[in-house]
Amino acid sequence: MTTTLNHPAAAAGKSRTPIIERLNIVTAFALGAISAFVVWRLALQFLPADTEVRLFTREDKITLLSMIAWFVGFMTGIGALIAPFRWVMGKDLSHDENMFLAGKDMGIKRYFRYTTDHKVVGIQYLIITMVIFGIGGILAMLIRANLGTPEGGLIHPQAYNSIVGTHGIIMIVGTIIMVTGPIGNFIMPIMIGARDMAFPRLNALSFWLIVAAAIPLIWAQFIGGISTGWSAYNPLAGQAPLGMNGYIMFICIFALSTMVAGANITTTVVRMRAKGMTWNRTPIFIYGVVASVALALPAFPVFFLSQVMSGMDRALDTSFYNTAGGGSGWLYENLFWIMGHPEVYVILIPAVAALMEMAPVFTRRPLFSFNVAVMGIAGISGLSILVWAHHMYISGWAPLLNAPFMLTTELISIPTGMLFLVLVGTLWRGRLWMTMPTLSIFALLWNFMIGGITGIYLSDVPADAFLHGSMYVTAHFHYTLMGAGLTGALASLVYWFPKMTGRMFDKKLSWISFWMVQVGFNVTFGGMFIVGLQGQPRRVEAYAALFNRGNLITSIGAAVIMSGMLVLLYGVISSWRHGVVAPMNPWHAKTLEWTVANPIPLENFAVLPVVTSDPYGYGKEKK
């Protein structure tokens, strides 16, 4: 790929293309692969043979070192180090170089570079989210295929366990970034009336870290896979094959990305809102995004740490999690769920907040009880860091703590109820404008109600003693993360599609895919509730004949979901290429992102806007 560009600095008599213009995704992959290979070869040559009883120690060291080398090589090759290096040398980037980094006049190429424009980063996030859901969906179909008959056996158990684990972790990552990535980066700065994010280079960094993280995960599939489920409990992870190192590296790099994005988005919202946009006039979606990324800030460093310790146990023979060496598997469980429970709200809150943002638009009336909505989001965020051990009721770690954790968990139903109140209050006596996002509000209330009530059963310690570790749990969290979370994300895609691509999303396709996905979803996980109640454990590759009927229902439903998602994919591609050209404000909404022209100019606003009211004043002028 040639990278010469006609921008002023290059034209002004420099004979050689500056290095900043040579770097792109190709150099990144090349440098990453080369450094991984070199380090792998050196490690193979010079690392001493194992003297200890641990079997994989040397191989673990080699694998981890190669993966770290890949990471460093990739980030260097994409250009993440140029600006810090220049800064250390005492020469900051020039204006032209900054404009180049922002992707000025660069066309399609800017999507393959370390581009700092938040709109480019938003589109990059959108594409990678779709790729993740595509792969995760295919893995889900493989799981359902294997569970088509009670005997299983279509896929080798080791590969099956790895598919389950990979499906789990990449869907978790996909759902974490599905709203705050594409919408949070593309729309959020415009919505608050800013020209870009607070730290544009960190924004590019957070995206390219995810690309860098993806490779160790793919790599892992070829060296034994992730046969531990997404939670990768120790000591099982300690005896898992080399693929576990890929999981460890993936999590560490992804956690870095989340922390960087969290700091960036939080700072942007706190510091860069338009003049007059007081907290009372800030759209509720912004609260959702900030709550989500701010929750990730305490949660993901813990995840990072838990995996560093897991890697050290494997490669350096430490024993953080090894009982025989003085450690404990319970330590891992605690660290994992201290991340894991805030993390589900990291996924859920922005999706619900996005639908709260759309509700006034499609009912043509003000948002009901804005203050209660803010209180609900804040309450969930606060409580969610105090509930982690409800995943450990039956671990035997601390039976006396079960009652307090049951208390905090059930308390979360109060702020969650507030979100329901805001949505039904907004539907109340509104004038419904039927679109796919409108339908999604109803779908969210339906799915989230089922997910929420089943959550109450699970939060109850005696009931959990029966339900824990069964398919019931799997169905429950799919109802919350997919039934509520993904529903909100798909509605966001359709709602903001005109602003992100300049074209309307095909209405008919959005409706068809909506009904297929929602009906298929309820069939799939309705069936899964049944087998869970009957007593089928999670993550099994074969099951008793008793569970046959429920599994059959689930497999049929899964096929319907996949078909619906393919319709949606076709809708995205066809609408993006030749959909109806969108007007500036197709939904006649009142938030700031609809006041900028299509296509959006590089720094969004020529003159920064001044906000004088909240964005929900529908019907006010008539009075």
Binding site: P235, E410, S413, L445, D460, R538
Partner: protein
């Protein structure tokens, strides 16, 4: 943002939407309650212990408690979706009703959800306390449960050892559970008890089987390659049969 209840003297409950919602609510509440409880009862295995009976009772109770709330949300949804709808590419006129807040509705909603929450907590605590007391039952038999990839082993007080669990009916039993390798989870499905088997630690669970029959033990924590097959049966037999089995078993153990 103030209370924007209509300033007229019209009673709010006379509005047609309120009546419609109320009728929907009257229909939905029993529908959800009956469907939810039937769904659970028909799907869950017949209880083989009081603990399991308690779990099923809890889930029925919670379902009935939740059904009016769920029914209210769904009734408002149904009212909204059955009101005049607007299709088309341009928005309808703004709604004529502009409630942007209602302190009374907010307060009522929060108080009710807090009461429901308290109710769930208290019920849960009562059952939890009862289950916890079973760990101190006098006259209970003790069984050591050891999980390993991918089988369960049971050791009895008199030295008997078995790969299949035998228990006497109506006698309290306390399991002392541990693991030899990775984490497993000991789940006696029809008795409604589950406890993780952790390497290096012993955890405890107690139950009193109250039905003669053959029931299932399954591992409920992913433990590697053959996790799906890490299951066997528990035979609950009469006290006399149990004593006989135990004597045979320990004699067998002594010989080998």
């Amino acid at each position: 943002m103030t209370d924007l209840m209509p300033p007229t003297k019209n009673k709010w409950w006379k509005h047609p939407d309120v009546k419609k919602t109320f009728i929907f609510w009257l229909i939905f509440t029993p529908a959800i309650g009956i469907f939810g409880t039937q769904f659970h009862v028909l799907s869950m295995p017949d209880p083989a212990s009081e603990v399991m009976g308690g779990v099923i009772g809890l889930m029925r109770l919670f379902t009935w408690a939740a059904s009016p709330v769920a029914a209210l949300v769904f009734a408002i949804c149904a009212t909204a979706i059955t009101s005049p709808r607007h299709y088309g590419d341009n928005p309808p006129a703004d709604a004529d009703h502009q409630i942007s807040n209602s302190p009374r509705a907010n307060a009522l909603w929060i108080v009710i959800s807090a009461v429901m929450c308290l109710f769930a907590l208290v019920v849960g605590l009562i059952v939890l306390q009862k289950d916890g007391d079973a760990l101190h039952e006098a006259g209970a038999i003790n069984v050591n449960v050891t999980g390993q990839q991918w089988a369960w082993n049971y050791d009895y007080a008199n030295g008997a050892r078995s790969e299949v669990l035998y228990l006497p009916v109506d006698v309290p039993v306390i399991f002392h559970i541990t693991s030899k390798d990775v984490k497993h989870s000991f789940w006696v499905v029809e008795m409604g008890i589950k406890m993780d088997a952790n390497p290096g630690y012993t955890t405890e669970a107690a139950v009193t089987p109250n039905k003669i029959g053959v029931f299932n033990v399954r591992c409920a924590e992913l433990c590697g390659l053959l996790h799906a097959y890490m299951q066997n049966k528990v035979h609950v037999v009469s006290k006399a049969d149990y004593e006989k089995w135990l004597a045979d078993r320990s004699a067998l153990e002594a010989r080998s």
